[in-house]
């Protein structure tokens, strides 16, 4: 069966999703979804292991060889991404049961649909990563996007509907732009297979059509990954979605979009064309810096902690784009390892917030006063995630910041390195505001003194929190593999 791993990665959740929908509401549905997520994680781990040992794995769908058939192609970069998404998917699924059963106002009969949608979203995300076919990317993008609109709209707050609607509009425009870009490329080359596209593009690179395709892809993907100033859909979507959904999407969806960006601009167009001829970095770099700065400052002024973290996500995406626009092995390593590390820290933070809102029903700063004393474990996890977000040594967040600064210094961009350090201080400010409120301020009048969050929520949260610490010390996965992926993308590695 092992030769089928690439396709099983997608098929397992795809089959489990309708099965979930068919099952009667109850514990069994969650169990099925949980087992599915665990299986996905297992498959992803096996794939990564095999890729690291043997190199690129290629799988021809339906037995049709590439470039005629659809090819699933796994190399270091996407095996690593698969692991991130599958791991977060599994951890958040463990977290989701309590949230779905007790927190979201969803009638019992509708609960199986939540799990089905979640699994579909996972299918889409995994599919985007695993596929080696440009059009297939679009198909899976739509699967994941449509299901994520649904997931967001489930939020308790009525504003979740507006947020989901805005996300739908912006996401659809992004997907359409991507489709137009792919269409142009198909017109010019007659192929959709990524490797084949990469081989045929140089012959037609100097045409208006290809340049237009490049522009459409830039904007389309930037919309999906919430690059400043195209991020405006993100804060509300993250703030009003259910906490489990926010944790899942914040840790995976934008990361996968960044992976797509890497795939298109490094593998298909090639670094030489994207950054040498088209000067993509001239667009990405200023937007990344502006995004980092602006979103960090906005985060400082927020009073809804969830929204604050959403803006912080925009800033963190800026760091990744900054790493990419350095166009060096170190810079790319920073970006790719930050994909992993940011998934860990934001997962932790949003799940900790989920615990808070589960008990006290709100995550605004004034309501969270004094929470540290009532929920020491929850806020402990939050602090760890926060430290990682700031980039304190011995946490995962430090690893990527370190590479980012190193990469900037390699290019001789001192001001950029300083800005990264300075914006880390901004992160200190907004995380400190929460910590200060939670630990040093008296609880507001009239808030019921409930206890610590249930174990079913704490265990997944702490799993990720500890992962933040573990990967801050053992960097063989988040930095080691990231470097291999970076070398593979730049075509300089073994």
């Amino acid at each position: 069966m092992t030769e089928h791993l690439p396709v099983l990665q997608v098929v397992v959740p795809l089959i489990a999703a309708p099965l979930c929908a068919l099952l009667r509401p109850g514990r069994a549905v969650w169990l099925l979804a949980m087992v599915t997520c665990a299986l996905c994680l297992l498959i992803a781990a096996l794939l990564l292991d095999r890729v690291l040992a043997q190199g690129v794995i290629s799988y021809a769908m339906g037995g049709w060889p590439a470039p005629w058939g659809i090819e699933y192609r796994v190399d270091a970069a996407n095996a690593y991404m698969l692991l991130i998404v599958a791991a977060i998917g599994a951890v958040v699924m463990a977290f989701a049961r309590t949230v779905v059963e007790q927190r979201i106002r969803l009638p019992a009969s509708k609960q199986p649909w939540f799990y089905a949608t979640y699994l579909l979203c996972l299918t889409g995300l995994l599919g985007m990563i695993v596929t080696g076919d440009a059009f297939n990317v679009f198909v899976f993008l739509e699967i994941s996007s449509l299901s994520s609109y649904v997931l967001i709209s489930i939020g308790r707050d009525r504003r979740a509907l507006t947020a989901a609607y805005q996300y739908l509009i912006m996401g659809t425009i992004g997907a359409t732009f991507i489709l137009i870009g792919i269409g142009f490329l198909y017109v010019m080359t007659g192929t959709l297979n990524m490797a084949d596209l990469a081989a045929r593009l140089p012959a037609v690179a100097d045409t208006r059509t290809v340049r237009a395709a490049f522009a459409f892809l830039t904007i389309g993907i930037s919309l999906k990954l919430a690059l400043f100033p195209l991020h405006l859909w993100l804060p509300n979507a993250y703030a009003y979605a259910p906490s489990a959904v926010t944790a899942f999407l914040a840790a995976t969806a934008t990361k996968v979009a960044i992976y797509v960006l890497l795939r298109f601009f490094f593998t298909i167009f090639g670094a030489q064309f994207s950054f040498g001829t088209m000067r993509l970095d001239a667009i990405l770099l200023p937007l990344a810096l502006a995004g980092i700065f602006s979103a960090s400052v906005v985060a400082i002024f927020q009073t809804n902690v969830k929204r604050m973290l959403a803006y912080s996500s925009v800033a963190q995406i800026g760091y990744m784009i900054l790493g990419i626009s350095l166009v060096s092995v170190t810079g790319l390593t920073a970006a790719i390892s930050h994909l992993f590390n940011h998934a860990l820290m934001k997962g932790t933070l949003f799940m900790a917030l989920g615990c808070v809102s589960f008990r006290i029903g709100a995550v605004s700063l004034d309501r969270m006063a004094g929470v540290g004393r009532i929920m020491p474990w929850t806020m402990g996890a939050f602090v760890i995630g926060g430290l990682s977000l700031i980039g304190v040594p011995m946490t995962a967040g430090f690893v990527s910041k370190w590479y980012l600064i190193l990469g900037a210094l390699e290019r001789g961009w001192w001001p950029v390195a300083l800005l990264v350090l300075f914006t880390s201080l901004l992160a200190v400010v907004y995380i400190w505001r929460v910590v200060e409120t939670a630990y040093f301020q008296p609880a507001p009048e009239g808030r019921a003194t409930t206890g610590e969050a249930p174990l079913a929520l704490l265990v997944p949260t702490w799993t990720l929190a500890l992962a933040n610490l573990y990967f801050g010390l053992d960097t063989s996965l988040n930095a080691g593999v990231a470097r291999r992926a970076a070398e593979a993308l730049l075509g300089v590695g073994p």
Binding site: H4, V7, V11, L14, I15, A17, P18, L19, A21, L22, Y59, A60, M61, G62, G63, A116
Partner: protein
């Protein structure tokens, strides 16, 4: 619509034809233009027409929501199941050639037929579900 007999009559006449056409598009898909997506939509359109003329309650009686729910899932399962079957029989995912142990071409016919059927069922069920959801608002 209860009092307009002309539309009701014409609907009754048209409905079998629409459904038949849907089935034609469905099963002709592997030779000519057509396939599961189109067939599913045409099939659903027939029900939408029925529901418009005869009322949502009647439509729900004929095509109850639980059936739709099963249909939505079943279609995807058929599609993925065929793929997995190919895999279990020793080919790649969605490799229809191995479905018939004697004649790969026959196997491919069977495979594409089943896959299109799965797509058709899901699309039809989803379309009708969406219509129900919209039409059912405000009740």
């Amino acid at each position: 619509m209860q009092q307009y007999s002309v539309p009701r009559l014409i609907t009754k006449l048209l409905l079998p034809l629409i459904l038949l056409f849907a089935l034609y598009v469905q099963f002709h898909g592997d030779f000519g233009p057509g396939g599961g997506f189109q067939a599913g939509v045409i099939f659903a359109a027939g029900f939408v027409l029925y529901a418009l003329v005869y009322g949502l309650d009647n439509a729900r009686r004929i095509m109850p929501p639980w059936l739709l729910r099963v249909g939505v899932s079943l279609g995807v399962l058929i599609y993925a199941g065929v793929g997995v079957a190919g895999m279990l029989l020793g080919g790649a995912f969605l490799d229809y050639g191995v479905l018939d142990s004697h004649d790969p071409v026959h196997g491919q016919h069977l495979g594409i037929l089943l896959v299109e059927l799965g797509v058709g069922i899901t699309v039809a069920s989803v379309m009708i579900s969406i219509f129900y959801a919209f039409a059912g608002r405000g009740r």
